[in-house]
Symmetry: C2
Amino acid sequence: MTESLTEEKIKEAARIIFMEKGYAAAGMRDIATKAGVNLSLVNYYYRSKKNIFQIIMLEKMHKIFGSIIPYMIDENTSLEEKIKHISTVYIDTISEDPNLPLFVFSELQKNPEELGILFPIQNMDFMQMSIVKQFKAACPDINPAHFMLNFLGMTIFPFIAAHIFSKMPNGIFDNIQTIIHERKKLIPLWIKNMLEANIN
Amino acid sequence: MTESLTEEKIKEAARIIFMEKGYAAAGMRDIATKAGVNLSLVNYYYRSKKNIFQIIMLEKMHKIFGSIIPYMIDENTSLEEKIKHISTVYIDTISEDPNLPLFVFSELQKNPEELGILFPIQNMDFMQMSIVKQFKAACPDINPAHFMLNFLGMTIFPFIAAHIFSKMPNGIFDNIQTIIHERKKLIPLWIKNMLEANIN
DNA sequence: ATTTGTTTTAAACAATTGTTTAAAACAAAT
DNA sequence: ATTTGTTTTAAACAATTGTTTAAAACAAAT
């Protein structure tokens, strides 16, 4: 049972509008217009604004969380392999949807109860993940939270700040997409140095 | 000419409501109610929603950008001193207003033209800042953008992710405020290791 | 005590919001 | 050709939005 053309056109328009304006500023008429479709059809196929938003939001949360967790819990790769693999895959993934992190963090902060239930953040037990256990073995004296914050921060923060930084003049941040892609190779090196520094 | 009590009560309510809900979801009635004041007074003192928002937004942009720039352009401190000082001061500043980064980045992304003019991001010439020149001297082969992204990412990202991470079970991120404060000492160490690694 | 300018209030405003309704158009099956 | 179920449309809906109005309350000055 495949989705009708109209249904998918509406969903795609909703993706664009919600990502651009956020939940509150997005209008049902915006979505209908972008989809090239009568206003009523948005409610016909998706019942309510809340409902279609939750569908998009769940999709986006899967994209931002679901795409790294499999690698983080993999028991058959070394810590170094994980770091190399995740930073590469993650930067490539988010590059296709660069506003994803800011969108998800922002909406989740504005409505934690309702959206938190949609995606089981509560069940993401970092402590039991292979990557954290491996880090604890390598650096027993450092709280693994710091490692995760540094690793994710170095990977994700550039996307969050890109819009603003690229507006600066005379530019360090010209071609910020190129800069971000360079980081696929650099982040593993930096993390490695950090791990070694923590041992000493 | 001091602001009347009512005027300041409205402004403080607007700060809270806008930070909590963002521009689009915040209502004039929300602000009036939180201020304990008649609805019309919000327009009486601040003309329009757009106007009072821009006043708050300008204030917040000053807080997030203005509070570090003086240290970054200071010609009389070493790179190491700058890093130590900025990470400490910045983490302390943002800890008092932990949603500040997510709010500013998010609103700025939704309305770059109008809000970008308010605060002269266009005039923030990273390339001419003392901290960047010092980094270039220390690590000529690395694009200083990476240094800035790492430094700011390690400092700011934990605030952006705190809300979500603290919801996770069985906790790496329990007491995330404590973890963030530990970083005031750790970030300078990590950055130092990175700089040394880049030289080799 | 009256005048003056300022602040506060209650009510109404026009416009916009998400949603529903009922009819029309359409396609598929008999 | 007619019936059936589905999709699309135009119009209207009740509620909510930011804003304005005009009167009332207030405070300060003469």
